[in-house]
């Protein structure tokens, strides 16, 4: 069995499961943010009306708000706080960072877990060797909250092998953007994606994180990386308690093995209107921008801040560009302070924002008027997600975001290194 099959078998009390079977599994962790938490709580209290069975397995993080700009937002957060108190759910209030990063840094995610959440990037926790999937509000309200369970159709597993070495100025995010487009939106519907290969294995934990992050874009159910020494070294830095690593059997079977060569790739940019519209940066260089942002579920890790500082040290952002830095967690901000990166980016004209989900969905920041354009490390570029449907969002690496902020238009970071 693959890692995912083994986890689902254990969680549903079976010795084995086959792809295609429907199982009801025990859930170890339900992750909710301020938006999904609110909607889930409403369904649970209005339509289900049962006790919440395992409050210790539910976590809520306020990440789309860091300081509500409207009374409506303030009321939503107050209702969430009351809900969390009523059921004894652990709450990370405004300012902690974005949901997935907060959960990992707090040591709440461990290998072998069944992790679910309404946020569509929940599969990112496969980076720790979990089965992690995005379910809707009604799934948590109907089964997760009252019974600690969820139903799943066991996915077929596809192994993805990444080979080669990326060139200068080409970061793991460029490779991940390119991979999402190469597999295609909806190109791996309901698959479990096992990411591996020499390129992936030489990356650090937070760079590997970017690969399970794209599973939602290609339509996969989940993505994961079999834990190794890199994973365990990271886990020991955030976890005191013992944990058990689950790995696939040596004779595990895949539906397919897809191999990709990353050598020779250029820096990549996902252009509007969808995440699959990815082009080499040279094809979009020169597009004027007004906004640049490091942030998002996969963005503004310490790695991103370091990359941006390589370009911004001793330079100034273009006068027409607003450059937002939104750390993914407090731990990342602390590290940036220690390394002197906060000052470097500040002196370059950047504005630091509280740890949060930043401009994602433009709830607390990041709305654009028709005709405005942003380049960011976010994960989504669909029209209407950041204010006007006539505004444009481009997704790129931290190097490309920083280079573009200096140039005032989308720019090839290799010209700045």
């Amino acid at each position: 069995m693959t890692l995912v099959e083994k986890i689902l078998a254990r969680a549903s009390g079976r010795t084995r499961v086959e792809p295609g079977e429907v199982v009801v599994a025990d859930v170890d962790l339900i992750l909710l943010h301020d938006l999904s938490g609110y909607l889930t709580a409403r369904v649970f209290e209005e339509k289900v009306r049962l006790p919440l069975r395992y409050p210790e397995r539910v976590v809520m993080v306020f990440d789309h708000h860091f300081s509500p700009p409207t009374e409506e937002g303030a009321r939503l957060l107050e209702e969430n706080r009351a809900f969390a108190r009523r059921y004894g759910i652990r709450l990370f209030d405004c300012g902690h960072g974005n949901l997935h990063n907060v959960a990992v840094w707090a040591g709440l995610v461990r290998p072998g877990m069944v992790v679910v959440g309404s946020d569509s990037h929940t599969p990112v926790h496969g980076a720790l060797g979990c089965f992690a999937a995005a379910l809707g509000n009604d799934a948590h309200a109907a089964l997760g909250f009252p019974y600690g369970k969820a139903w799943f159709r066991v996915p077929h597993t596809v192994r993805i092998e990444l080979e080669g070495t990326s060139g200068p100025g080409v970061t793991p995010r460029d490779v991940a953007l390119w991979l999402a487009a190469t597999i295609g939106e909806g190109g791996a519907i309901y698959k479990a994606l096992e990411f591996d290969g020499p390129y992936l294995r030489q990356l650090g934990f937070w760079d590997r994180w970017l690969f399970p992050l794209i599973t939602v874009d290609v339509g996969a159910k989940c993505g994961y990386i079999e834990p190794d020494e890199v994973t365990e070294t990271f886990l020991r830095s955030v976890l005191q308690e013992p944990y058990e690593v689950v790995r696939g059997d040596p004779d595990r079977e895949y539906e397919a093995v897809w191999r990709y060569e990353v050598s020779g790739l250029d820096p990549q940019v996902a252009c509007p209107p969808t995440v699959g519209n990815v082009k080499p940066v040279k094809e979009v260089a020169g597009v004027p921008i007004q906004w640049a942002e490091l942030g998002g579920h996969g963005g503004c890790r310490i790695e991103d801040i370091r990359l941006a500082a390589r370009i911004l040290a001793g330079r100034r952002k273009h006068p027409h560009v607003k450059l937002n830095i939104v750390p993914s967690s407090r731990a990342v901000f602390t590290q940036a302070l220690r390394e002197g990166l906060v000052e470097i980016l500040h002196e370059a004209g950047a504005t630091w924002f509280p740890p949060s989900a930043g401009s994602n969905q433009a709830i607390n920041m990041g709305a654009m008027a028709a005709g405005e354009t942003m380049v960011s490390t976010h994960s989504r570029n669909f029209p209407g997600r950041n204010g006007s449907p006539q505004a444009k969002m481009y997704l790129a690496s931290a190097l490309t975001v920083a280079a573009s902020a200096v140039a005032g238009c989308i720019a090839d970071p290799r010209e700045f290194l």
Binding site: A139, A142, L143, R153, P273, F382
Partner: protein
Amino acid sequence: MRFRGRCWKFGDYIPTDQIVPSHLVYRPMTEIVRHVLVNVNPEFPERVQPGDIVVAGKHFGQSSGRAIAAKAIQATGVACVVAESFARTFYRNAFEIGLAILECPGISEAVREGDILDVELETGWVRNESTGRVLRGKPTPPFLLEMLRAGGLIPFAPRLLGEGGKA
């Protein structure tokens, strides 16, 4: 489960952000329903009738996995959504909230806006009554049909768990 109705046609890769704009998701459904898909087709929320069928292209309902997108389409009275393919979060949400949907490769080029369609979930057959053309979509798995007939996951949950965790 069989549905017959007039079709509204949409393109590929429609994200949930365009089904329900982000800034509206916390508003009452009576308000949301007036904005469903409005940025894609401004006439849709104004003129959609109960029993109509939505036809869409590839990976319908991608982006955020919010169930409110499926709920908003349901609230317009649309009987069924037929698409080339669905984002998995949307697909699951639809059955869990009791909205009938069918995956039917080839549907986009087989229908025009306003055609009358006859859709059967069990077999996956889609008949375009306006042109006489017949397509075979993907038959809906019995487990999901059962959930749909029950009215969604909330009413279905006791039966699902009552069978010893085996569905």
